[in-house]
């Protein structure tokens, strides 16, 4: 059997106004982060439904990160505050079910924080890679 190097698959939901712009800035400054990170643009982090997070894990993601404007800076004034509550509750529940807490993260990245974006993604990808493949919230049907 061929041994394939394990590469984690990471889905990053980024809000259009801050974090997606932060990711663009990381690109402008050529700040590298693993290609395993794939970004999905949402208007605001509060658009991210827990169902999307679970869906990503089902389909084979090894980590899911949600990035939004810093609290207080939300383009829509309060969206990220809701994100913060929802995801705190959701992630705590996933942990309660024995799913590794390092697989999920919420990070606030502003449009000026290209470096933070890249650093966050490097760190997250590294932590997720250390855990190995997502086995606890996987759907084997999608892995064949």
């Amino acid at each position: 059997m061929q041994v394939k190097e394990y590469k984690p698959l990471i889905v990053a939901f980024c809000c259009n106004w801050c974090s997606y712009a932060g990711a663009d800035l990381a690109g402008n400054n050529r700040l590298a982060y693993p290609a395993d990170v794939k970004i999905i643009r949402v208007p605001c982090s509060c658009r991210v439904n827990p169902m999307f997070v679970l869906r990503a894990f089902q389909r084979g993601a090894d980590g899911v990160i949600i990035c939004g404007c810093h609290p207080g800076d939300c383009h829509y004034t309060s969206g990220n505050y809701y994100t913060r509550r929802r995801m705190a509750a959701l992630f705590s529940m996933l942990d309660y079910l024995g799913i590794e807490k390092e697989r999920t993260r919420v990070e606030w990245v502003s449009a000026a924080e290209g470096a933070k974006f890249a650093a966050t993604m490097n760190d997250f990808a590294e932590k997720v890679a250390a855990l190995g493949e997502n086995k606890r919230l996987e759907d084997l049907r999608c892995k064949k």
Partner: protein, 341 residues
């Protein structure tokens, strides 16, 4: 008829498990009995019956039918069936044994359901006579004798001994393997127990429940009975009754897109669900009353109409025990039909 001591049953299980996968009722961590794959250490439950019925062995809740793979714009169809292995289900009560006959009439009549048929062909059923029926039992209503369970092999259990009688070729073949562990005895050995059970059967609270007023041809008479409103008024529309029922056989076929291909699978469906038999125009039974009525009309009228008068209920009592609101077929039968006179 052959017998062995109750203590030697573990050896009997071990012997059966040598040639085929054996499932016996065993107590789960939550206290309920379930069919469990036998291996050393699995203890035969004393419970009257399992929470889920043994229909799962032949008609599982979920099964993949086939797969599609797309390559560019081409589609490849893959048959995912693997040869079914031989298996033995031990401890099936008379009511549940009867349920296989009801399922067979659906799945084995033309066009034969090959998935079901393969499992039936590979499965051996060892039934078990009841000793202590519950107040929720009403198998007698459907002419089932819990002291005379059918199946490939019938088993009776007493305080100290276990008796075996093979009924079919498959059963006889299996009994042959147990020759060394069992000894010959006469049929009379279990007579006393049978009598005792018949006496209990008469005392059961539902002993006088009859199927009078139901059966083929009763559709017009029963369909618009005003009692359906009252009976269904607090039904929650969950699928508990259908999923614990040994005779409910409805399923849905769905496609699951894995991203790499499509798995076509079937899974149980429940006529109590709002999405049941949903078609392009929507659902043809829109109210819970209609869905509720469908379930009981099917068991008590439509099925017998198409199957020589055979009712598709075996009186196992699972729905009586598990319905969240305690609404069930007994209440329906008592409210409408002959029992209400």
């Amino acid at each position: 008829m052959r017998k062995c001591s109750l203590d030697s049953m573990n050896s009997v299980f071990a012997e059966i498990a040598k040639a085929a996968t054996l499932y016996i009722p065993a107590d789960r961590t939550d206290g309920a009995a379930v069919y469990t794959k036998w291996e050393e250490g699995v203890v035969w439950s004393n419970a009257l019956n399992t929470v889920r019925s043994p229909k799962d062995f032949f008609f599982p809740q979920m099964e993949n039918l086939m797969e599609f793979k797309t390559q560019g714009k081409n589609i490849e169809i893959i048959d995912t069936r693997s040869e079914t292995e031989d298996f033995v289900v031990f401890g099936v009560r008379a009511c549940d044994v009867k349920s296989f006959e009801i399922l067979d009439r659906v799945f084995l009549s033309e066009p034969v359901d090959s998935y079901y048929a393969a499992r039936r062909a590979h499965g051996v059923i060892i039934s078990l006579a009841c000793t202590r029926p519950s107040e929720t039992c009403f198998c007698g209503t459907f002419g089932i004798n819990p002291a005379e369970p059918a199946g490939d092999i019938s088993v009776w259990k007493t305080e100290t001994e276990v008796f075996f009688r093979s009924n079919t070729e498959k059963g006889a073949a299996l009994m042959q393997k147990l020759e060394a562990l069992t000894e010959e005895c006469t049929e009379e050995a279990v007579d006393a127990q049978k009598e005792k059970i018949s006496a209990v059967m008469k005392k059961l609270p539902l002993a006088d429940l009859t199927t009078e007023g139901f059966g083929g041809g009763k559709t017009k008479e029963l369909f618009d009975n005003p009692a359906w409103d009252e009976l269904s008024q607090t039904c929650l529309g969950c699928g508990t009754c259908t999923f614990v029922c040994p005779t409910c056989q409805c399923y849905d076929i769905k496609d699951f897109n894995t991203g790499k291909g499509v798995i076509r699978y079937r899974c149980w469906d429940s006529c109590m669900y709002s999405e049941f038999t949903r078609m392009a125009h929507g659902n043809n039974r829109n109210s819970q009353k209609e869905r509720f009525r469908q379930r009981f009309m099917h068991k008590l009228v439509y099925y017998p109409e198409n199957n020589d008068g055979l009712f598709s209920c075996v009186g196992c009592g699972r729905c009586l025990a598990k319905c969240p609101i305690s609404m069930n077929i007994v209440k329906v039968m008592k409210k409408i039909g002959g029992n209400n006179k």
